[in-house]
Amino acid sequence: MSFLIQASYFVAAVLFILGLKRMASPKTAVSGIKWAGIGMVLAVLATFFYPDLHNVGLIVTAIVIGSAAAWISGKKVEMTDMPQMVALYNGMGGGAAGAISAVELYSGNATAHGSGLASLAVIGGVIGAVSLSGSCIAYAKLQGLMKKAWSAPMHQGLNALMVILLFGIGLALATSVEPGPFWITVFFLIALVLGIFMTTPIGGADMPVVISLYNALTGLAVAFEGFVLGNAAMIIAGTVVGAAGSLLTLLMAKAMNRSLANVLFSGFGASDEAA
């Protein structure tokens, strides 16, 4: 059975890649998303056959709630408001990656298999959390909920401090065998705040580039969590999105005649390296 699951994950991953490939050309673009959609359904169905999976009721309920909310909002939204919806959905994906990391850390599963795996869980978690809060700010800005570019006093120093703190706590979490729940919580809170602080100073016009960057980051986070869970579909799809998204970010920045560093100024570079 486990072989069948892995095989369907692999097929799903191939469908994703082919789908993205088709989306890259105007003629085949519409069919591309359908291919990727089939892959997604396949992978989700296969997951229900995972060995000793419990809380199935909870899983189904959560899927129904999440899907219904996204379906309704996705159908209703105006065409011109699309970018912020992408940001929002992307943030949800980042949050999910962060949640996986949190579950694995709280339960001690991640650390039980050595600090290599634990550090992947920690890195994926921090990227996911940053992507979640950052995307939410991007959404709020594009939606007009938040008009002004705001930056905290000592903005760069504060961001650098948070990156250092994250690095330190993350290292401790990854190496200690039984990480305390308190530090895990602090860790994720700092990551969320960092995401907010990183995004607030960036103006609305640059947001698409930033969203694309968070998209790439979420992809990376998914890939890291895929390694933690030993899940081929997540590793492949996450890495493809990470690579494709990074390049897309650069292309978009270039199309706007801005360098990426120019868009992201202030302290962002430091956290990028941590990623």
Binding site: I17, G19, L20, M23, A24, P26, A29, V30, I33, A36, M40, V44, T47, Y50, D52, L53, H54, N55, V56, L58, I59, A62, I63, I65, G66, S67, A69, A70, W71, G74, M79, M82, V86, L88, N90, G93, G95, A96, A99, I100, V103, S107, P181, P208, N215, A221, V222, L229, N231, M234, I235, A237, T239, V240, A243, A244, G245, L247, L248, A255
Partner: protein, 83 residues
Amino acid sequence: MLAAFTGYEIIGKVPAILHTPLMSGSNFVHGIVLVGAMVALGHADTILEQVIGFVGVALAAGNAVGGYVVTERMLEMFKSSKD
């Protein structure tokens, strides 16, 4: 590594007009995080883990479904205006 090269290869020569749908499409693809969230929730034991896992699955499902709906709408519009 191979997957990373694939990503590079795919995006390398894309017309600028397809940037946004493609971003949305790759946003949908990382909705695969749903699978991982399901596994995490499926193996969660304590209440805390279950709550976080539940939120994770709901968020991931939102990512996947929302990403799909939005991308499809974008591409549909693209088709009708271009053809």
